[in-house]
Every structure is written in C-alpha cells, then in structure tokens.
Symmetry: D2
C-alpha cells in the first residue's frame, strides 16, 4: 500500500488544474500524464507537477497508470470512460456521464463488466457543511425527512454559446441538485414537475433554454422536494438547502469569505456568499479526490457511483420533458 | 370626524377577543355589541369592553352601528356579509369569505351593489417585517421580482374534526400564502401545480386531507413561486419568504420572542420562532384593525378587499384540483 | 382588589406620556391628576386620559391618590419623593433619585420611615430579552457568572446644555449599566476603574464631561465586569451585554425593527438596532409600570427599590472619581 | 529569484509541524534541516519533508540556509535569534521574543545590527477575517477608530506546570491581544489598567497567576481599548473583536466549522466556534509563512517585526504590574 497510484489526468482546464493540485497533496498518488487537446495548457500543468504530456492511447497503455481523472469537456466523457474501463483503469469522471441517457447507461454497463471503480464528481456531497448535515440527518437528529427545499443559483449565466450546447439547465445545473435530492431524502422519485422561464434573460430564451426553474419531486415514501434555480443571482453563488423532519429542521447555509460584520448608518452587513463554485466547493473538490484515492488504496467502495450519475441524469431528462410538456410526470426511476 | 364609529363584533372566541382589544385602542371606535352563539363568551367579552350582548338582527338594526367585525366561524361569514351589506354597514371579515367560491362571489357582488367597504383579514400583509419587505421591493431595491419562495408551517395540526371541515389544507392554510403570492409578485397566476402527502401524519390522511403541500405558480410575466407548507414543525410556527429579483434578494424571516443567544458546550443557540399565529402576527392584527377604521374615518380604500379574498380562494380551489388530479393546471385567474 | 388605584403623574413630557399610556392599559389604575410646570403639556395629556391638571399640593392632598409616578426633571425627584412619602403615597420614580448621593440617601431614609413602596425606573430589568437572560442565568444554565461585558451606546449626544447639567456621563448614562452590573452579577463592587475621553466630540469636552467611557468593576466574589459606553453610535442605539459563566455564555442582543434581510451585490444586510430608548425599551416601560401596580394590588415587593437607585448612584460617583483621579478605586458599596 | 530559499526549522512540535507543512507549499522554499532536542520528533518531521536532522550549529553553519523558522520552546527563542542573526540568517520566530523584556530588546538590537529580516509570529494579523476588517478600517469605512473591544478566551487552561512557567497570562495569552490593540488602533498606549482573578479556577491561583483578566488601554489620541480574557470558555475558542468608529462599527467574529443550523423543539442552533488556535488560525499560519518568504523573495519588509514583538511584551509587562499593584499605570511605550 505504500506504492504510489499512477494517474493520468484528462483535461488541463479550470477543473483539471484543481484536480491536479489536490492529487499532489495525496500521499499515495503520482500524476504521470496530462492529456489535453489544447497542448500549451497540458504542458503548463504537466510542468508544474512533474508529469508528461501524452495522447489518450499512450496514457491508457501504461500499466503503471492505475487510475484516470476525467475533467475534459462533457462530450468526451463517455468515450474516455469506455476506453479507460476497457483498459482496466479506475475512473474518476466529472458530471455528467453524458448528455444522452442511453449513452450514459452504456458507460455504466461497460464499467460494470470491466469491474473497475468509477466515481462521478458530485463534489457537493463532500462539502463539509452538506456532509455534516447529512451525518446529523442519518443520526436521527430530526427524525424522518419529510420536505427538502433546495436553493441553487449561479451568480451569472455562462456565454450563450455554452448554453446552446449545455444540454439545458436541468442537465447542466440541476443535475447536482437532483443528486442532492436522492442523497438527502434517500429515496427515488415517483413524480416530477418542472416549470420555468427566462425573466429578464432573453438571451437564454434565444438559446432555447430557461434561466429560472422550479422543480417539485415526490418520493415513494411521500417526502417532497422543491428545487429553485436561476442562472443569475446579483449577490453571488447561492447554495443552500434545508430538510424538514418529523422532529426538527436542518439547514445548510452559504459560506462567507470572512466573518466581518459592519454596522453603518444604513444597515448591519455581512459578507456575500463565496463568489462561485471553485471558491464555494474548494474543500469539497479536495475531499472528493482524497476519497477516491483513499477508496482505491483501501479497496473500499466510492460514495458517488456511475449509477448515481445515471439516476441524476434520468431525473434531469424527466424534468426537461415535464417543463416542455407543461405537466407533472410520473416516473419510476 | 371626532365622533366614534359604532361597531358590532360577531364572534367572541380567540380571534374575536383580539379584535375587541385592538378596537379598544383605536381612538375613533366604540364597541357597542358582541354577538356570539356561545352566550357566556359574549357576556364576558362585552363586560370587559363596556359593550352589550345582542342578536344579529338587533346589532344590524342599530343605525349607530357603522361597521361590523366578523370573527365567527367560517360557515357564518357569507351570511353575515350579505346581511351586513344589506344593512349598509362597513365590513371587516376574517378569511376565507366562504369555502364555496360561488357563494363567496355572491358576497362580493352584494358588497359591490351595496357600495359598502369590505376588508378581508389577510393580516400578514400588515406584519411589520412583511410590509417592510414589500415596501422595499416596490421601491425597486432588488429590481424586478423573479422568484418567490414561501415557507409556511404550523407548529402542529388542529383536531382531526376541524380538518375534516376545514375545506382542506389549500383553503384553510395556504389561502394566506396565495394572498402573499399575489401581493408580492403583483400578478395573477397562469399555471398552478400542487402536490403533497401526509408523511408521519396518518390522522390527516384519514380526514381526507394532506398535511404537507408543495405548490408551484407561474405568473403571466414569467415570475415563479414555490410554496411549501406543513401542518407540523417541531420547532414552532415557521413563516418566512424570500424574493429573488434581478438585482438582489429580500428575505422576510421569523420573529423570535427574545434576542438571547446561548453558547454552550454543544452549540450556539437562539430562540425558536414565536409559538403560533396569535404571537407571530400580534402586531399585524393590531395594524389591520387600525387600517380598517382609519380607512373608514378618512374615506380611503382598504388594502385587502373582498376581491382579494375571492382570488386567493380561487387559487386554493385550483391547487386542490391540481393535487387531486396529479397534474399542473392552466388558469386565468 | 377590584377598586382602582388613584394615580397622580408628575411630568407630562416624553417619558410622562409613555407612563400615562401604560397606566391606561392597567386594569386597576385610574390616572386622576397630571402635574407639570409646563401647563399646556399637562392639559393635553390630562385631556387624553380623562385626568385633571392640578398643582403638587392638591395632587398629594387627595386621599384617593394612592400612588404617584414621577417623570419630571431630575432636579425635582428628591423633593417629590420626600413630599409623596410624607403624604403616604406609593412612589414610582425615574432614575436617578438625585444627582447628589447624600440627598438621595435622605430620600431613601424618608421612604423607609414612611413605610411606603418606592420603585426606581430601571426599566432595562424589564426588557424581555434582558429578563429572559437573567432568568436563564439564575436557573444555572451557564453555571456561575464570571465575566460581564456591557456595551451601551447612544445614537447621538444630547444638547451641550443638557450635558452640562446631566451630572456627567456616569450618573446620566452609566447609572443604568451599573444597575445591570449589580443585577446580573448579583454582587457588589469591591473595585472600580473608569477612564474615557472625547474622541471626535470636542463639544462634550467643552461641557466638562466625557463622551466615551470604559469602566471595569470587580465583585467580592472575583467576577469581572467591563462596561463600554459612548454618546454616539452612527448606526443607532446599541444595548447589548454578555455573561461568561463557568459552563457557557449568554448574550443579550439588540432588537431590530423588522426581520428583513437584503442580499445585494455588496453585502447581506439586516436592520440596524431600534433607534433609541423609547423604541428599544418600549415593552420594558410597559412591563415596569405593570409590575409596580401589580405589586401595589397584590401587596408584594417591587423589584427595583430606592436602595438599588442609591447603589447605582454610588457606583457612578466612584467611577467619576476614578476617571478624574486616573486611578482604580477600592470601594465597599 | 527562481532558486529556493534553504530553511532550517527549530522545533518539531505542534507548531513546528504546521510551519513545515506550510513551508512545503511555498514554491520558493526548501526545508533542509529540522532541529529539536527531542530526536524522534525531529526525525519523523524531517522524513516527511525530505529534510535532515542536525544540531543548531550545523544548521546555522550551512551557507545554503538563508532563513530559520523558530518554533521551539519560549526559553530558546532569544538564544536562537541571537545566533541566527550572528549567522546572517533571516528569522521567523514565534511569539514571545523572550519573557524578559531586557533580553528581548537585546535580540532586537542584535537583529538591527546584523541587518537581517526578523518577523515575529503574530499570526492573527493574517487571519482572513481580521485582515479584512483592518483593510476596511484603513479604507475609512467607519471613520476614525474610537473604541476597540477584544474578547479572547481559551477553551480550557494548559497544565498547571505550564502556567507556572508561562510568564503569566499577560505575556502568555494577552500578548496577542496587545498586538491586536496596537495594530487596529494604530497608536501606542499612554495608560494601562489591568485587573483579574481566578473565578472557579483555584489551580491557576495556586500557580501564582490569574485565569480571567480585564485590561483597559488608552492611546495618545484618546482611543479606548478593553480586552477581556479567560483561560476557559466552555463553548470553545472565542476570538472576536469590534471597533467603534466615528461613522460605524466593524466586528470580527468567530469562525465555525460548518454552516449547518438546526431548528429543534428547544432552540435554533449553529456550530460552536472552531476548537482552538490550530483550527481557528489554520489559514493565518499558512498566510504568515507565505508572507515571510514572499518578503524574502521580493526584498520587501515584513509586517510583524521584532519591534512589534517588543512593544506587545512591554504592554504585557505594564499590565502585569498594574494588576499586581492594583492601579492604573501611565506609560509611554
């Protein structure tokens, strides 16, 4: 167990850099290869961490590579999962598995057949605040969970070009919230209703998507979940949820950069939430990579499997249909 | 203007007593009559305020009575409104106008024809916190409202017998929240989706109702509203809402009995919210009565009309159907 | 017990009006007389409450007057206490008893000899937040109290003319905080150190006083208290304290007008504290009058006696000397 | 500038490990030597970071060592500073310089003569919350600072043996708060008053020290500062301060492990503060080391000099005398 796990990293962009930094801190990993179609980015990241820039084939052919970390663009995920599974590598892949559910299921099947570990990067489950809430919920602090309210707002929209190829707000943004729904309520949805619109954001409407969504889910056990999302919150990145249980309520609040409070002639003011996901989930990104490699080292299962990735994707698909058709959908996911 | 407005109060129960106390503080009113089928309650309340116990006819026949305050049981509202309107009295009536929309509309018509003032007791609009939020919203502090999230939970359920005749959770509880929706977003609903269940409250299911509800509304302007309600919150009466606007967010939080904060070996703790509506909306009940009589004295319009009462009732009816039929309802209320 | 207690009110100014309003709400009192050197003010207040304007002698000569409420200027307190005591009336008097300790002690002696009830208006003890903290402290929630930190800041200074005759910041402002010290720690001071200055307030220095003070007290039991005061807080009236005990901490925070929270591009903001003492201690003024007359009705002792008034005044005097002489003072108050 | 700065670390205990970890993250440092009288600790830490265990002389003799980090016990600080200065090394040293002011001044003189950089580890200045407050204060957000209130409480006392040799609470604990006083108010003290006791902590009294202290300082400009400290807070490590300025107030609050809030039948509860200094100032320890080596790399001055260390120590000494003699001390530090 004292040997290092050789790692190939796919994607040298924003998230790839974060994974590389966190890999460097893990005592039992060694980043061997960085793969990116944008060669200069790959070179820079590789140089920083003493790794080598290669192509996909070369990276997967090295028997010293036991694990891959996939942080490249969404349209490359499925192909890389299939090839890594075929090569017998353990896989860490960013969400979503694929925008197409059928294709994502094929990945899950391939992973199963290859018998490799595959973890999907639902990093929010590793956020210290969210994880502490989950632990207290599981410990019975508020009895049985009955209602989950999720607020999930981005500080501002991505470029219109991105939105057009994002798979839509349900697959692009809410997939995380659907995972939170499954994780916190611990049950699958029997009905989904989604609606939304583009108040004050005509550019999103022009891209065929919605900027604001309201989703309601019901579990087999009768628990309810309401999710509200928007592509813009003037005050920053808003990531909160609360669970009403039979014996109380647990809230997971935003994280602030500092604890300074100012009292002026106008109001009493504290910091806005962290700016965006890289800041808000900084600890979570570190903890999920730690979890993945700890699981490999110890031979224990990972907490967010490719099946979790499929389930969240299916909910996103049902929600998309509910919104398009303007009706609640029964489902047995 | 220095003369006193003679008032007849119908209902000497819990809410009647509150109205009587607030009437006593108004400089231009005089409580003349208390009417209640439960004679001892009427006697006690009348004695406390120097009023006389009479029957409905006698109270309405006195030309010195310019206004009636109706705080009796729901099934008496419509009849009293019709008779008071016919007698030319100004009317303050608790919500709902009636559980039957058709009957409620007939009341509105009678009020219109009689040309009398009729105010419905949506006291939440007078709550200092809610009213301040509305004022700041109207002043443009957060731009255009886009999303409204309403949390509205009772500390515990009423008796099963009450639930069976309550008209259902949408007419009994959410009617207030539907009024908040119309008041805050300033627009009517074009679609309504409601769902719910009875997690851990089989006695409510046995009464043919639901204890937990999740409602989604959309306005003509594309604004979204999600309401979550439950008949039980272990920690007390939970009355909050928040509005996301194009330029920011406004939240209206709960009110606590005191500002004591305790730091122990376990946690940092502050007071739970006020116990229930009489405590939480104590100031609001006072302010709504003040508003009603000020309007009478000054000849100005009241803020929560019988039309507002009808609209909220219609939303409750549509929501009930949405829940029963399991589908989103288009509506043009 | 059903008869009404006849009351004479001295002082028809700001505080006199508040007492008159609260008297009106008490079920067993009747305001008979209003006495004020400023006749129009007395007339207006008397008219509002159905009372009569008379002189001091006439008010005290009426055997139907069982109690007096003294809210006139400080320099009249001692004389009125002495005359009311001689007339056998129960006395409610605003703080301070007198600016001169010797004279105040003479009042206490007169009250004792006359055997009348005398309550000093330390209304803060009746503030719901402060009273709840005290109750929890007495219940042992945080063990033995060890350290008390009091923050007591006015929104802005009174007129320079007032300051010159106020008796100085320690007798004028901190007398309330000295009472809080005695009440919360439940022990007398064995040492007092006071210092201060006039940062940015030269007009206070010109009046021979200080605008900012820092006082440290130690009790016989070794508990410590730090009080910080200023004549100006740009954000409003700041009235907080916290008690460290052997098992935890209890904080009494400010009260806000509403629970609205605004999230903007700059910060997350809540209301400033209530503007000044009339708003902040609104409930306390009502509750102290209720307590006084309840005590008279029930023949029970009052909670803030003239001895409490003397003790707080003595501390103010020692603190003044400590500040003037620049050294800590031992004392055995 | 791309070469690495060779570093020798003195002390392989709790704080030494933290410095070693932070050194490892700095892009321009190389930990060469670990020195500790406890050999196994030195060996373990050296092994983890690829360093070598040597003696003091050997470490200082290596011309490849440009800087030393001193995290050994207090009684070794002065000697190591003198020797490192003589060897021309840049010095980072934990507070205090020495318990004896004369000896500490000799160190400062030696550092001055040697012309080496010497930074004292007042890590609190690097805490993100404290640093943000300071920046906003300097930007004029609340006008001129007038009053500083510092609350600084440890979760529990160290061993009695430690207390006996700690130099007393003023040099051991409050030295940090004296530095905060100088840093925030930006002026030196002209008077100091200190008092205290040992409520419920007889073991501290037995060691000749006090467990609870209350200190008041005044600056030449008339600004006031009150510090309250205790060796025990049942709820954890309490590190807060607030500054009243002519235009408002800035507060620096505690940091909580998570943002979970629980609403139960008893109260609304959030996390206690971080457990102790290693958790609370985790980021600060990292940032101070970063600052020190950045300063060396860039040839810029450090923010907390040995002169700052001397000044804080002098205040601790005056405070100790004030407490012992029971009187306020004038000083011209």
């Amino acid at each position: 167990m004292t040997e290092h796990i050789g790692v190939a990293l796919f994607g040298a962009g924003r998230i790839g850099k974060i994974h590389a930094g966190n890999l460097a801190r893990h005592p039992h990993t060694q980043l061997r290869y960085v793969v990116d179609v944008h060669r200069p980015a790959a070179e820079a990241l590789a140089a920083e961490h003493g790794a080598i820039v290669v192509g996909i084939d070369e990276a997967l052919a090295d028997p010293g590579v036991a694990a891959v970390v996939i942080g490249s663009s969404t349209d490359t995920h499925a192909d890389l999962i299939l090839r890594a599974a075929a090569a017998g590598k353990a896989i860490f892949c960013e969400k979503p598995v694929d925008l197409d559910v059928t294709r994502a299921r094929a990945c899950a099947e391939a992973v199963r057949q290859a018998g490799v570990t595959c973890m999907i990067g639902f990093q929010r489950r590793f956020d210290p605040t969210f994880a502490a809430l989950k632990q207290r919920l599981d410990a019975g602090e508020i009895g049985t969970p009955e209602v989950l309210i999720v607020t999930s707002r981005d500080p501002g929209p991505p470029a219109a070009a991105y939105i057009a190829h994002s798979g839509g707000v349900f697959k692009d943004m809410l997939i995380h919230d659907f995972d939170i729904f499954r994780w916190i309520l611990g049950g699958e949805a029997v009905s989904v209703h989604a609606t939304g619109g583009c108040p004050n954001m005509p550019e999103v409407a022009a891209a065929g998507d919605i900027s604001h969504a309201a989703v309601t889910l019901r579990t087999r056990d009768g628990a309810l979940c309401q999710i509200n999302t928007s592509r813009r919150a003037a005050y920053g990145y808003d990531q909160r949820f609360e669970v009403l249980g039979s014996k109380g309520l647990l809230q997971a609040g935003n994280v602030r950069p500092t604890e300074v409070v100012a009292w002026s002639g106008d109001a009493i003011s504290s910091d806005k939430p962290e700016a965006f996901f890289l800041e808000r989930y900084c600890a979570a990104y570190s903890l999920e990579i730690e979890h993945f490699f700890d699981a490999l080292v110890n031979g224990t299962p990972v907490r967010t499997t490719i099946e979790d990735g499929i389930k969240a994707l299916e909910l996103a698909e049902v929600a998309t249909r509910s919104w398009r058709e303007g009706k609640a959908m029964e489902c047995a996911i």
